[in-house]
Symmetry: none
Subunit: 191 residues, 4 copies
DNA sequence: AATGAATGAGGATTCATTCAT
DNA sequence: TATGAATGAATCCTCATTCAT
């Protein structure tokens, strides 16, 4: 039989990588990074421990890949490299997208909330994250300034905190959180 | 010298216990629960590992004691077992106290945020925590209802989320967060 | 194009085998046998791990082949199966050859010195090696006896040790070792 | 019962440390550093794996301690920080001591020979070792110069190589090596 | 009350070897 | 012939917990 082509190998790698990352993200989110063993990830992903290291050089490397993928997805929504100006409609759209992402990516959000508080781990992501958040806050600040707010910086920070807080409470117990009503209220009160 | 009375012994015990808990809370908050070893806690608290087990039956037991103490302190502020009605002044006082607590108990808040997301750990505290939060949300709901809000439940939840979000962002980077301005804005907009 | 003959295949196999052995010998010598992974050998030899096992049945088998080849080369120089008598000129020639071999086969000598001390590994080669060394020592003994030495056995052993010691120090740091002067001195003092 | 005094603890530590180092040196020498597992060392020393790490921070740390202890013992013999001049009697004494050490510390010599050839490990000891060898070679050079040798440097190097070679062959098979006769011959020919 | 030596289960990681293609 | 994905045993190391003194 002829050997596999390198394209075939590439496909296998992509599938496996995705499979491992999905399982790991879920477990990291549910049990915490430290409490999730490589052994468990391998078992749940139905592969051997050794194979995992064929795809990721370490447990931390796996975490980083998961995080970067999650962040890329965020970026694709919030990427403000247009004119840097937020219209009212764009703001509303942005809020809808944020809430959407929250419910579609619960595991990622959980992971995010559980990692931010651990300096040893978070320091790895800090810079990457700042690259997303800083322009966002700036845009919000500009929006509120334009609207005539007396303290647009604080208002932007408040908005950011609110979204974090909602996310935090929502992912903690999605089925009980009145997400739709809260969203409406956010739009009414903060846009 | 007369032998120490049992009361004196009890006092010594309490002091030591507090000393261990303070060190442990700080380390848990800064490094994460899993990443903090009993050995390190004992060293930093200037006692032996063995002695620590004389005061706490296990690492988890130590965590629980820390958490309960933190919660007790919260309760002492928010305890609404008066008439269950929140006046405007009481609400403002409550917000001030919450922000105060945040800045005085940064470690505890960090610990709180890092543990909430881990079901295996959080399940231990969940019930205790619900006992505090539920009446709080109810009081807030009543407050907003009284104020004529169309959707008082959602408004109460939003308020709770906002406070969490502010805490989350504040303890993450206290020196950069515009805590006073945000507090003013919360009072102006939500009371 | 005509299909390759089995002789051509055989030639290709031999070339590849040599190529793998060269890379492996170098790595074994530089990093040690245990610290050199099959993976690394395959990468450096620009073949796949799987293919390596097509040529050698195991890592140890690879080592054995390398060693035997090295020993064969030694044998071809020192092979005393003529008359078993060493003349003065033959002795001098032998010393020159030994020093030549040393500098041309540094990797092999390094490997030799690092393996001799490990019984678990060395036991495999011991017998083979004795087959070379024993007649050599005998010939030297005869030479010194003929020369009128009082203790020709000890002198032969001393000579053997000296050559080992020179090799040991030389391959450890070839550029700093005054190999030529040492060679002259050996000839002057021991022939 | 009263707790152990810190002196008692110190005694326990010293005994255990020695016990572990003895076992480890023997095993490292017989099987090689890489082929000796911490597990085996612990088993042979009749302690748990964990305890070993109470005394040495890593496998390499254990090796370093063994090596340094061995080197200290060497130093105590060869330490030339008197006048730096070697008389004939001192030279003879030095040779006797070297041969003595060889037979009393076979394991250490084996370890030495097996480590020198592995750059990754040896680099750790290189400097320490140079500190011993360099002044030795200098003294020998001075000795031969004084004796009227035409090439005292090469002669000193030759002597160093000879001792290494004798050690190498001797520790490899102590019972068969004619150590006494070789020693006499070395003294007669090289002093 | 107090110490830290001692244990052993569990965790991350490596690597020789196999095998489907 | 040739590839590299896949396995799993073995390795180093950590750490909560126990216990003799």
């Amino acid at each position: 039989m002829s050997p596999r082509t390198s394209k075939q190998f590439e496909e296998i790698r992509e599938i496996r990588k995705k499979q491992i990352m999905d399982v790991a993200m879920y477990l990291f989110a549910e049990k915490g990074y430290s409490n999730t063993s490589i052994s468990l990830i391998a078992t749940k992903a139905k592969i051997s421990k050794g194979l995992l290291y064929n795809y990721f050089t370490s447990k931390e490397d796996l975490l980083i890949h998961i995080f970067e993928e999650g962040i890329q997805e965020m970026l694709s929504f919030f990427d403000p490299n247009k004119d840097g100006v937020l219209t009212r409609d764009e703001f509303i759209f942005f809020i809808h997208e944020t809430f959407n992402l929250m419910s579609r990516k619960i595991s990622f959000y959980k992971l995010y909330f559980s990692l931010v508080m651990q300096p040893s781990v978070w320091s790895v992501f800090e810079k990457k994250f700042a690259e997303i958040i800083t322009p966002l806050i700036k845009m919000l600040t500009a929006y509120y300034k334009n609207k005539g707010s007396k303290n647009p910086e604080a208002e932007a920070v408040l908005m950011g905190s609110l979204l974090d807080g909602i996310g935090f409470n929502y992912v903690f117990n999605p089925s009980l959180y009145p997400i739709e009503q809260v969203k409406e209220m956010v739009i009414k009160r903060f846009v």
